[in-house]
Symmetry: C2
Subunit: 118 residues, 2 copies
DNA sequence: ATTGGTAGTGACGTTTATGTAACTAAAAGC
DNA sequence: GCTTTTAGTTACATAAACGTCACTACCAAT
């Protein structure tokens, strides 16, 4: 999502969205909740993301200071990503979103049944 | 954001994003936290959204069952939007995002100062 | 008859986000 | 010296999201 960044906008929610917006960032961060993960492992755990996009998103998250990239000078290369201290502050949002996801799935399924008369 | 909808995906977070994704939905919902608001008032309170996009986003939120549209049969027209019961379940996410927005703004400002050596 | 106010819609164009396919480097194992 | 492995990059193409501008309908007041 395009950045507004420097100014905190009218609504801090929009500001948050500039960091978490997009299809993949929340799920990537979700994978890092339990500690450092290698690039290749992320790619496997999130099968529908292309490696190119994964690289890009990780780079943005790193530039935004939410994650830390550890590159070990080995061959073949080994690179690990982990939540930074700032990145830890997204955890409550991720948890709330997780909770919401489940509730919505249940509620909206019901809503649809009603709406369609099924 | 494009929908995955029917199946709850590997990560409920992604599922949540299909409902809250995009630049405007969270801020629109944020405006409805305190009760029903008219279309025109939303447009004024969120000055940077075009009325067309506002209409579209409201329609999607309504289709997703998150908000309710009340159209009073008056001339000139009066239309009000409010959070549905399902919509209320986003409140914790909005609050967590609000909190995060403030924390991030402060933290990332500091991060940037460090990163640029200023 | 013209203007003002409300909540839109439709055609069209731009920007942002995401995707695919082909390619690189450098060491290790055969 | 050919292949495998990892973490990428580059060029290119498509899809999704967002935007502008012009327009509608209806009634009331001027």
């Amino acid at each position: 999502m395009k950045k507004l960044k420097e100014d905190i906008p009218a609504c801090p929610i929009v500001y948050t969205m500039t960091y978490l917006g997009g299809k993949w960032k929340p799920i990537i961060l979700g994978r890092l909740l339990k500690g450092p993960v290698r690039f290749g492992k992320l790619a496997v755990q999130i099968p529908d993301i292309s490696r190119k996009i994964l690289t890009e998103q990780l780079k943005e998250l790193e530039e935004d200071g939410l994650i830390i990239r550890h590159s070990y000078n080995e061959k073949p290369p080994r690179v690990e990503y982990e939540l930074s201290e700032i990145g830890q502050t997204v955890i409550p949002v991720l948890l709330a979103m997780t909770e919401l996801g489940s509730k919505m799935h249940e509620a909206i399924t019901r809503h649809k049944r009603v709406a369609t008369g099924a």
